[in-house]
Symmetry: C2
């Protein structure tokens, strides 16, 4: 249970209450919260902005909207560069900040420039909770959620459990913030945080700098947590001062009588250097247990451990030394701010002298783009994920660890506990955590809305428009375009292979592949038919959260899906894109055939809006019963023609400017 | 004509004479020269070392052999990383220097560490002539030529014309070495240097530092020249001192009475900032003529203009300024030495502050790997080539210019003559050319043969063996495996699409695609048949110099090719891989059919070696005449089973160690 109002509150509850526009803070209840800031990156951002364009609004409605380019910044295909060009034009046109390719990873650049205690942040990237370390309530979400938040609509979520992670003691030498989150992963597993917000408490909090806290909140995502958050204190204020944003500080502490749904205690002084072994972030063991394993590649970077403070300790360890000839070491800072500071202080030169390949600030290798390990090799990375194949090669052996453990391995050519290496080398000391006096790096790569150089969208040949659905009509009828069996996945609906997903910003083109794995004539038939239905067995739409699996059928004119049951996330996506999801029984499924003309007898628009659950479906002379399970909010969205149409209508109702179209 | 011995000599002739092992220095005559140094890079190197392994020698025979990793260092695919791993193991096993991925472009790292006046260098990269600026005679060649040179065999070449490029005067402000070579390209065209060695002379030589000379000799390749070379002088000695290799200096000047085949005069004082417009390096105009064109992307780097001395002027121009918000600027140094020096002196931080995306030291964008321009955009690059599509996108607009012109465009957001920008900004001065007192960067990434960490070859799953052919037999017979028409290209023989060329280091796999565009059953039939012949019309093997077009048929067991005529380079490749190329007339072509059993009546081994030109071919009851046109050297190579077998035999004869196999 969570606390009801009036009682002592957690930090999370305080922020939620301040932003609450719908519902009550009871665990499991749907709540709607106002979003202050949004962020998107280059792989999710194109669709976010195309959807925003489709909504027809003139300008983003949140206090801050920021578009980063970080995933595809090597730009090894013109489509990546075109995406960046489009994103710059979208940010300029609609009033968002634009971070140029090369400026760094969204989470790093956001924490440096915008993250603020007490504010809410929604981002179309799973590691959005990073600034939880500064007391911001930051949540990762799907692209359409970010789009509608930019349109001024609340973000809806089931009220999570709030779990206290009580930190005691202080980290000993060579143990780091990375080891705190690895310890939690080892204890709780990658599912341990699902449906929860982890709120850090206890006397250990003040022993951690804000950047260390952000390493922990960033990788809270690997626990499956909805978010992770720290209270604010002098360390928070100190960090904000150093980034030149002391005004953003607000005091956020849980009330003394705040109660939590659960509590986990971590004694920092018990920690030692830990490592996640292949191929799951919760396969955590002490480094000593796997010492001696040869290491072919070491990479320091990513949004988890790519900040100045993360790289500096590794640089200090490498200074005046050389990495093993058997090992390649790459350093890819999380932001150009980090790169510039490290360069200005001479650390980039020192690392290069030691044998480091110093890279652009990019997500890069963390998502399998660049520096793919050799076959049958071992790679140590300071990243947050080591899922099998994520590095770009099947059967990879990727370990996750702190920059200190990574640097030690690069020097030794094998996995080694840095304490043992320190002993061996004699003159190697724990470099500790050191923040720069001031983060006085250039902001040349961050283009503010005021500085924007574009006021029109620039779309390369691979960037299409996103269609917007009209409000639901009263009469709904059409042919059954495709009859499918049980367990149709989102991969059946839109294949995720690279040759197809490259069209993710081009709905007309991508739609040609809709359900092609079931019937490669489907897309053409659907387009020709001008409306119609899909028919499926049990568990339709299982698999990923891919929104295109609803968007593309909608583009092709599909009006609804009749299935024996729906997978949870895909069912939500059908509402989001205005497709009627009706449940039918096995007999009905058997009785209807592909090609049948199908009519929904009810006044559909009225029935959906008014809460009707039972619908009558007529096929030839026969009538069948079908069920719509939906909350009133889902019904409103469906009736409006989907979430974008609904948000647009809301914004118009609230007086927000809507462009002509 | 070139000079005969005893008369005054050019620098080129002096070096050639010192290395001559066969022939005389008469223009057009085939000469064999001893090779002192070889270099290979990662896209050509795997095949070089697989061939070296196949030759069965223990150790490279040249004074210096160096393996660089520069083309695929972003390692977008495990096959790239596996290649690098293999190359390290090959260098270690056979005694070559190994430059780790990230250490820079072969030409830059070679000039820093090994290039030496008076020495010969053969490299499997077209820009190998770079150290001609230091008085080294450096020539780009095919992989097999480098392999056999590493095996101790001479390099054979037709004696080129020697053309004097007489430099007079001195470069005015804002004109650079790049403008010297652009001027030559504008005058002579991309074919102007074919069959020639350009030897720089005249009073203007001493006004250019050694790095400036190397920009010129590097890009001499775009003239089609066999090589380009400067005499040596105090500037050469000065550079060698600064890189810590003053012992390598030798004095090399043309004799006063040296005569040249031709002379071109360039008055340096007449030059101004020039630019090559899309899409050929000889489309050269003054920058002023295209001023005002918007620029989307600027890249400084490559083997032409990626050295410390090249980047420093751009960095000085950017210091305290910001690049245009409409323009992305990437700096990719040619070597980590350059990166480290620039980082140590603070220039990397300054460039980052101005908005530069600072990249790894790599060939990268110059070969379309990374930073592909957006569609319908303009890219200014300090590279040496702007062939259409080379940047990674068709219909690209790539301009080639000096770093100064590139930096000016990044600041202005459009093409601008830096003299005009200097006037506009008031405080912008020509930064000039400045060398570091000492190039005191780390050599951590250069692994010497003594430091080698591998003594066995490490082959990933995509790296196969290269077969070696047995010496030619006396009796040659087999079926006609495939009858083809006229103008069969090397693309027909081995398609160059990425999905197929990815197997370039895996001959068994690649061979499966042999002639598949003509007959997709061919490879399987050839393998099963254990020998046989190809039959073709006119111009067989036209197109690229791809050695695989001979190697793969050889792997499949093909013994010879009967064609009405052969394309020149492919014919040479057939000798190199031990396949008998016989010319037939049109009637013979018509009379023989696919599937016929064919026998060469002569004692083939004896006839080839002894100089026989006419051969008798029997098919059924009929006999036809066929012609072998070949020099004695080509006959020896063919009889030995190809160039590798021949080189191996030569090395064994000369007492070089051969490994058991």
């Amino acid at each position: 249970m969570s606390n009801s109002e009036g009682m002592g509150q957690t930090v999370t509850e305080k922020i939620l209450e301040e932003h609450l526009v719908e519902g009550t803070l009871e665990t499991g209840e749907e709540i709607g919260i106002e979003i202050d800031q949004v962020l998107t990156q280059d792989t999710t951002g194109t669709m976010v902005w195309l959807q925003f364009e489709a909504m027809g609004l003139d300008e983003v409605q949140t206090e801050v909207a920021a578009q980063y380019c970080d995933h595809q910044t090597y730009q090894f295909d013109f489509k990546n560069t075109d995406d960046h060009r489009f994103l710059r034009s979208a940010a300029g046109t609609f009033g968002a900040h634009f971070s140029r390719p090369g400026n760094g990873i969204c989470h790093n650049v956001h924490r440096e420039n915008f993250a603020a205690p007490g504010k809410t942040l929604l981002g179309s990237d799973s590691h959005t909770p990073t600034p939880g370390g500064l007391g911001q309530l930051a949540i990762g979400a799907g692209g359409i959620d970010v789009t509608v938040a930019m349109g001024g609509a609340p973000y809806y979520i089931q009220m999570p459990e709030i779990v206290a992670v009580r930190l005691e003691g202080e980290l000993p030498a060579w143990a780091t913030a990375k080891d705190v989150i690895l310890e939690l992963l080892g204890r709780l597993s990658v599912k341990g945080g699902v449906g929860k917000i982890l709120e850090y408490t206890g006397p250990g909090v003040e022993t951690l700098t804000a950047p260390e806290r952000m390493t922990i909140t960033n990788m809270g995502t690997e626990l499956g947590a909805t978010s992770s958050i720290f209270p604010t204190d002098e360390e928070t204020r100190d960090y904000l001062e150093r980034v030149g944003r002391e005004d953003a500080y607000v005091d956020l502490q849980p009330d003394d009588d705040a109660t939590y749904d659960d509590e986990i205690v971590v004694d920092l002084s018990d920690l030692e250097p830990l490592i996640a072994t292949p191929s799951m972030p919760d396969n955590v063991v002490p480094v000593r247990e796997v010492a001696g394993e040869s290491v072919d590649q070491v990479i320091v970077g990513s949004c988890t451990n790519g900040a100045y403070e993360d790289i500096l300790p590794a640089a200090k360890m490498l200074e005046g030394r050389e990495i093993a000839k058997t090992t390649e070491m790459i350093v890819a800072p999380g932001s150009k701010q980090a790169s510039e500071l490290l360069a200005r202080e001479g650390w980039v030169a020192e690392m290069m002298a030691a044998g480091v390949n110093f890279s652009e600030a990019t997500c890069g290798a963390c998502i399998g783009i660049g520096h793919v390990p050799a076959s049958d090799s071992v790679s140590l990375r300071t990243f947050n994920r080591n899922f099998e194949g994520r590095s770009g090669i099947e059967d990879d052996n990727v370990y996750l660890c702190s920059p200190e453990v990574a640097a030690a391995a690069a020097l030794a050519g094998e996995i080694v506990d840095p304490r043992d290496l320190a002993e061996e080398l004699g003159d190697l000391e724990d470099p500790g955590v050191e923040l720069p006096a001031v983060y006085d790096a250039s902001k040349a790569d961050l283009i503010t809305p005021e500085e924007a150089v574009d006021d029109d969208l620039v779309k390369g040949p691979n960037i299409g428009d996103v269609p917007l659905k009209e409000p639901l009509e009263s009469d709904l009828s059409g042919p059954v375009l495709l009859k499918m069996g049980d367990n149709i996945t989102t991969d059946h609906i839109i294949p995720a292979t690279q040759d197809i997903l490259m069209y993710r910003s081009n709905v007309p083109k991508l739609s040609e592949f809709t359900l092609s794995r079931v019937d490669d004539t489907f897309a053409e038939r659907a387009l020709e038919s001008d409306g119609g239905f899909l028919l499926a067995g049990e568990n339709y739409g299982q698999g990923s959260s891919r929104e295109h699996a609803a968007l593309c059928p909608m583009y092709l004119g599909v009006e609804g899906v009749l299935a024996q049951s729906f997978a949870r996330i895909h069912r939500a996506n059908l509402f989001n894109f205005g497709l009627l999801p009706l449940e039918i029984d096995a007999e009905t499924y058997e009785a209807i055939e592909q090609g049948d003309d199908l009519e929904i007898v009810d006044d559909v628009a009225e029935a959906v809006s008014s809460g009707a659950e039972e619908f009558t479906v007529r096929v030839g002379d026969e009538e069948f019963s079908a069920t719509l399970r939906a909350s009133q909010r889902e019904r409103d969205i469906l009736a409006a023609g989907g979430k974008l149409s609904w948000t647009r209508a809301q914004a118009e109702g609230s007086g927000a400017a809507a462009a002509d179209d």
